[in-house]
Symmetry: C2
Subunit: 332 residues, 2 copies
């Protein structure tokens, strides 16, 4: 399902990052960083919640807005019952749409919000997401203290939170179109190889987006997936070529950008719902504002991993959503 928009702009963004992200190559771009995993709270879940609240406060501060000025908040995260979102929302107090789409949450939220802004059903909205390395490891794999060895294909869940402000007020970045993904399941059962799980769903969504809009991949100055990791990125490039005869050229993956893969102990790269928006809302956003990138397709990829279902020997489904952002003509 592909939408075209006429009336939606990205007005402001924010990024809150944890210690590994701060030590990564994009550290200097983040709005606020925490150098420990607790962020002044007593638990990892509450730390994630703290970062989510910070990201909302930060985007409002940067946009010179109050909470009362905002019509709607769309948010989701990786924790069970999306508790970071729900507990943060109790103190934020903006009407909430809670979503769950694993690491594709940010773009799904942007799509729901863009549809409502485009037709003036709301004046504006915030979209947020978050993830926390230790909280996610504990929930999906093993407690970090257990110290189990990991495969090279494993990705490292990003600690951080990010928010976006959308409205119909013109800005330098227009939300131009978007495609909602379809759940795909090619039978991968290895929860330590999320790149292989997600690459086919990213391919399906990119293909559908380009086909529905009658575009070539070269239309975009950058196609940015998040987060397939080193191996998933290679699978996607191969899969697009073999299955659809599409050559991805101006292409990168946020898992491979957020950390220094040679120096940091992050296996195949970053993951988690916060990974793509941390990279986009900092480094890429700045490049777009400077006019160095004109058209960017963000493709958020989500592995719909469930420990219950993996224990039942079922394979892992995946979904990816895409949104097209374009620098408005007057500053190009």
């Amino acid at each position: 399902m592909t939408f075209k928009y006429e009336n939606v702009y990205l007005n402001e963004v924010s990024t809150i990052a944890g210690p590994y992200e701060n030590n990564g190559p994009l550290g200097r771009y983040y709005d606020k960083v925490y150098n420990d995993f607790y962020c002044g709270t007593k638990t990892w879940e509450q730390a994630e919640c703290r970062m989510l609240i910070d990201s909302v406060d930060m985007v409002l501060y940067k946009a010179n807005k109050l909470k009362n000025d905002i019509d709607l908040h769309i948010s989701g995260d990786l924790l069970n019952q999306i508790v970071s979102t729900n507990y943060a929302s109790a103190s934020i107090g903006i009407p909430l749409i809670g979503i769950y789409s694993a690491c594709s949450t940010s773009v799904l939220g942007l799509i729901i919000g863009s549809n409502m802004v485009d037709k003036e059903q709301i004046r504006n909205c915030l979209i947020s997401t978050s993830s926390h390395n230790n909280g996610a490891e504990k929930q999906f794999r093993q407690p970090v203290e257990y110290g189990g060895p990991k495969k090279k294909t494993t990705t490292f869940t990003t600690t951080g939170a990010a928010s976006f402000l959308l409205s119909s007020k013109k800005s330098k970045i227009k939300v131009e179109s978007a495609t909602i993904g379809i759940v795909t399941d090619l039978g991968v059962t290895d929860s330590f190889n999320m790149g292989a799980v997600m690459a086919p769903s990213a391919a399906v969504t990119i293909h559908n987006h380009l086909k529905n809009l009658k575009r070539e991949a070269s239309y975009y100055d950058l196609i940015l997936t998040g987060d397939l990791g080193v191996y998933g990125k290679k699978i996607l490039v191969d899969y697009m070529k073999t299955e659809y005869n599409i050559k991805l050229k101006n292409y990168n993956d946020t898992a491979c950008m957020i950390y220094d893969l040679e120096k940091q102990p992050v296996y195949a790269g970053g993951s988690g719902p916060a990974c793509l928006p941390l990279v986009f809302n900092s480094y890429i956003y700045e490049k777009m504002l400077k006019g160095e990138l004109g058209r960017v397709l963000l493709v958020a990829t989500g592995a719909l991993l469930s420990p219950s279902m993996v224990n039942q020997k079922l394979s892992i489904p995946s979904i990816s959503h895409a949104i097209s952002l374009e620098v408005t003509d007057d500053i190009l």
Copy 2:
């Protein structure tokens, strides 16, 4: 945040129910029932997934549609990582928006879908939700086999699934308006008293809905919450009177309708995302088609319960969403 719609109709509904629901007073209204908790699968999670797929197949069959005719599926459930939704979607194959809003999922889905249908961004959409008693008990409280005694205020998670078909094609029931809720947290920490957790959020949403549309509660032939239970229902009536001076008269709660509270061992009544749509999509829907009810406000109430956060001694937040359905003039 309140929306008014001009162009959205409820075209068809479906209900799939489990054994306790089949034995309840509305048993004869359901489209399909299972008399065991496994529904032909090997686990409770896969059983819930089976019912969700059934509910989609059933609503398509009743509407004489194919999956290819449907633009979008909006779905959520109570299991971690909304696995019923995600695993069902892998076989359904319709573009998916996955949402998490606990027992308020159905109405949140109806609102997102109505916004898109109303402005012709999509031709139509399905909204689904599901829950499973044993799966939910295991995840949120204790395994059923443990047999722990429960408080009278406990609700009994409904086993079932339901789907709605929305489009701009005129039908007897129009989606007239809706209000997205705000997360409220009044400090309740008792996970065996969800009615007390949710009643204040239901009150806030009903009050905002009526205020934003300049309506009295008596505008509606029925205000139907789901699912506060016997005690939560009383709290809501008191709270509305004390806090807002609103007298709820044409009011009922689906938790108190889905089971025979005197004969079935269900404590304070039904709960789970499937409870409200099982009651609405069967008994109430039929009453609207017959013209016995003209204006109905559905208020789905969700306790954002998380075992992690309860173990951290935090209170339980809640959110409620409301949607207004009206019988179209020509058949009244």
